[in-house]
Symmetry: D3
Subunit: 250 residues, 6 copies
Amino acid sequence: MRLLFVNPNTSADLTEQGARVARKAARPETEIVPATGRFGARYIATRAAAAIAGHAALDVFAREGRGADVVLLACFGDPGLFALREISPVPVVGMAEASCHLASTLGRKFSIVTGGHRWGPMLEEFVAAIGLTANLAAVRTVAPSGGEIAANPEAALDVLTQACAETVQRDGADVVILGGIGFAGMAERIAGKVPVPLIDNVVAAVQMAEAAAALKLAKPRSGSFSPTTPVRTTGLSAQLAALIEGENAK
Amino acid sequence: MRLLFVNPNTSADLTEQGARVARKAARPETEIVPATGRFGARYIATRAAAAIAGHAALDVFAREGRGADVVLLACFGDPGLFALREISPVPVVGMAEASCHLASTLGRKFSIVTGGHRWGPMLEEFVAAIGLTANLAAVRTVAPSGGEIAANPEAALDVLTQACAETVQRDGADVVILGGIGFAGMAERIAGKVPVPLIDNVVAAVQMAEAAAALKLAKPRSGSFSPTTPVRTTGLSAQLAALIEGENAK
Amino acid sequence: MRLLFVNPNTSADLTEQGARVARKAARPETEIVPATGRFGARYIATRAAAAIAGHAALDVFAREGRGADVVLLACFGDPGLFALREISPVPVVGMAEASCHLASTLGRKFSIVTGGHRWGPMLEEFVAAIGLTANLAAVRTVAPSGGEIAANPEAALDVLTQACAETVQRDGADVVILGGIGFAGMAERIAGKVPVPLIDNVVAAVQMAEAAAALKLAKPRSGSFSPTTPVRTTGLSAQLAALIEGENAK
Amino acid sequence: MRLLFVNPNTSADLTEQGARVARKAARPETEIVPATGRFGARYIATRAAAAIAGHAALDVFAREGRGADVVLLACFGDPGLFALREISPVPVVGMAEASCHLASTLGRKFSIVTGGHRWGPMLEEFVAAIGLTANLAAVRTVAPSGGEIAANPEAALDVLTQACAETVQRDGADVVILGGIGFAGMAERIAGKVPVPLIDNVVAAVQMAEAAAALKLAKPRSGSFSPTTPVRTTGLSAQLAALIEGENAK
Amino acid sequence: MRLLFVNPNTSADLTEQGARVARKAARPETEIVPATGRFGARYIATRAAAAIAGHAALDVFAREGRGADVVLLACFGDPGLFALREISPVPVVGMAEASCHLASTLGRKFSIVTGGHRWGPMLEEFVAAIGLTANLAAVRTVAPSGGEIAANPEAALDVLTQACAETVQRDGADVVILGGIGFAGMAERIAGKVPVPLIDNVVAAVQMAEAAAALKLAKPRSGSFSPTTPVRTTGLSAQLAALIEGENAK
Amino acid sequence: MRLLFVNPNTSADLTEQGARVARKAARPETEIVPATGRFGARYIATRAAAAIAGHAALDVFAREGRGADVVLLACFGDPGLFALREISPVPVVGMAEASCHLASTLGRKFSIVTGGHRWGPMLEEFVAAIGLTANLAAVRTVAPSGGEIAANPEAALDVLTQACAETVQRDGADVVILGGIGFAGMAERIAGKVPVPLIDNVVAAVQMAEAAAALKLAKPRSGSFSPTTPVRTTGLSAQLAALIEGENAK
């Protein structure tokens, strides 16, 4: 089974770091195929960078999606998720969406801990957009960005552990998600110090991607995620233009 | 990996039927261990039967849960789900909860099609209880109960197909779940006639159970699903009494 | 008028304590008939105990419900409420449900103060299940359980008074409910120290039960609370089995 | 016990008609004291008339409220309810609010059937304002206004019965409220033809008023319904001016 | 363009103060026509005063509305807004409604800062009534009433600035509204000390009134805001009676 | 006053058509500066096209935004709205957001009528994202896309008129918005046949843009829309890269 691991951050080293954790989490028969965004911010930490990343994710998929059995959108916040799901013939799993839904089945309230304060409202809006506000205890952000934490994880372990502990105690979280591709692999290092289940977003998303692929569902033939009518475009990569102008036609 | 497949309906043949589909859906290394409720309705189709089944599910778990790596509560509507999750040291996956969350990641709106009109409001309330009302297109029920359909599936294929088609067209469902242990294995037979992904609830729940188990999370040590303080009981099975009176103590 | 006072906690002394307060609150022509759960926890303080109590409440009703004009489910949290309402030919009043609705007519926001921290999320979920989340200021729990407080009420008066005062000041509660059968009779002792109306849950529920009975409404003949179709059962008390297998048939 | 029955419609005959039903529904020791608005529409059927009625209800209370143990605001839609509750030293029961909360304890979803199409959105907004939207199946209006129906009830029985039956069947109502002082006494005439409990709004409100009075609660000393700071006024009736300028002072 | 500036507070000096700011904010071709309530509280700070003001606003409009192109209801909290909108042939802009909607387009979450603690819950309820709860960060009230602040604005600048700063920092407001006619003109004095946009409610409402008028929309001919059927009244001013009894007839 | 009129559809003729209507609606002193997206779909009618348009809108702004006093994002559905608002030093008005908020002040419930069925769920999600779900009566779509309608408006007048009439009658809309840049100028042609106010989205957005500009608000210095920390990018236009990498730095 071929899993396209799309990182719309334009940092190939983050992609590799995430893909390593994904490979370790995946079943032996799952092939993790990493792919990195070609344009946009090195590390997505603002609304503008996320908006650009929505386009970049589509572009990556158009270039490298052929042959994939499932797509994992590996930026926590899932820029372009619904658009990718519309255009892809195979299931698309958003790393944040997958983590939040899986967390919802492990307790009544989950919290997200992530790096970079600007992600706070962005993720609250994201959780609302996927319909899970009622299950969200809180989003708690720490000062260093996910990119900075990925570059020097040791320095961040304590502040992350404390944020996790606080959201359990003060917000009543039954489960905590460490959100951000830069956090891949860190949950297992601090899980022992957090009194509730701590979710590694890459690990959770790989599980959900394998689950979705195992259902062997057909592409919808009607509704909001069915193939789109061709429309003329301008200024896009040849591959993305091809997808939108016809390849993906009803 | 050992998956306890708890059917709180007191019909062992339904358990077997569901377990067969579960085995087919599971990875080779997953052992499906079926277990059937010892008291209550043969087929759960009312609020009273569901309330009794909540107790029956706990009782089954107390008797047969030892050694399980994950528990699958295999009655769509998930009677006793949060109680079981509280008392179990390993993850508990509700068949309806798992199906609804997985469906939510395959589109924006999912519908449930099931047998027996009384399940309509009960499932709407269930979806609200797990925080997913915003993602629910509709619950559509057909007249024969899940038990009757399980006994004679051929007769029901057309009416189910039509209910699925209607909820796509009129309610805007992007995904449909066939809900009920009695429907195990039926989705693949009619999926071709339904224009959006059609979820088999047993298959979906097995995938989610394997995903939850793969996370290797520790039992919460604080909060609403942590081990409970022992309390004296009366009139329960010895095994359930033991769990509540002490074995499960902090 | 005959009011069946069902305590699904399996402590007959709590039943008596509650029934005494109920008798004092009731009109002269109301007969309070106490009944105690036959199986389950001595004092319900966990999700598992509450799930079992849902069954126990049905069992009590099946054994002792004949001749009642109204049923009062006297455990704050109302385990089995909707199931009992489905199966009973006469109105069923849940102690928490009644208190919350009555409180909602005395201000805009009500709070619940109760004993035992695990009741916090359970009661928030209950309030959501009865559709009153928008009217809830907060649930505040104190450390001793309702059972412990009932055993030694003097020791708890101060901590309860303080919790009430805090929820008025910090959560903006216009009304406060002291929730738990173990608190029966305590509200009048501390009401003078709480700056907003303080509701005694047994007193409120008796008033609502008398109000419901006075409406002389017929059992619904259609919908989610109409009589159920008979279904075979196993392992239940003879009386409960009779109710579910036929006596309660359409 | 003295119950001030405030009809903010300026039709004394409607007041009498409602008070007659109230007397029949009340306990023997409850004295029903009718009072009619002094200014505004004969029959309230618009937003403008309802806004004026909020003032008129305060004015009636200021003139005739002295000595009351409880106030019943007997116009379905409850104009001025929260203001009256603020200013009154004794509990204030709104006829619509009381009916909706009592109905909520008799099933999961209630509907309102009333006369005059303009009440449709007004009552949906009212139900939202009291926090009960989640429990509302539907508001169904028939063409003749409540005033017209009160003048010739025979002519309306069939159309009301049909509206009740429709909201049960199509909207899934477990309970129906006949809303409007003009409908007082009509529910018992058609209840036999409606397959779920049918609530007479005057009867329900009297029960809730007696329940509220029986709690013997003190006026709040803090918060949104505590006595207000005196403020100078102009152009009001002497009695209302007195209440607002000082009598009601902290 | 003629803008009727309706102040339902019965303080003509407040009307003048507000109208001065309105004139400064308006386009040259906009004529601001001030009008003051004839009965009710000098300064509205309670539910009772607001209920009376709903009637007073209608009365002012009936007397002075002829010839207006748009109506601005200039009391933050907008008493009688929907009723006025029903009865007026031209658009009606509520000062709070306009400010909240305009603020919603300048960020994701807005806060309201106002004078007088009793306005806290009243404004939360108002924001819910106009459907904007999801966009509200918080309502923060300071002790002096709007009337007191208008009388001595210098004394209040610091406490208001601090309340604004707090709601930005603690409640996550992207925008803040200074609410109350008594605050007209104050936002520009402290805006420099508040790190997010600070809205002057009179200025915002004038902009929204000019926008509404510019759309040149016809009065609705159907639905909840179309002209009402005449109904007999009693005890109203001749002009308001005329509006309700016939002039405004379909 | 300089208004940047950003059309992220890549059809310059649509931009011109919209800008003509904008000029007619604007005050004399408002200069409308049209700008068209450089890449993406000719006409946005899918999730993928909208995701790309979010990037395109940022790109247009980076190239042509200098000197603007306000930005109007003139694609109904507002792709990239929050990102543009984050990055722009002046107010950004979304055409759909502005229309929905203005419509909310003209009644209680608004509907959107637009072209292309795929916009149905996309706009429901958009309305939820801006917090206005409670005010939405319905989104009604007609078969021809906005692009097709713009190319041949005569052919569409009847079908649009009928969709408007239906949403008034069946969905209870108090106001209707014709949504889509392709509909600019059409509302006035059919308004006479629609019994409630009909909003032209370009006209409404111009009014709201002028209102926002008139407030002369400073760029937020804190929170989710304050200037962002510079971050390295790749593959963007020089102007957009400059904005994100530093020009827009705190």
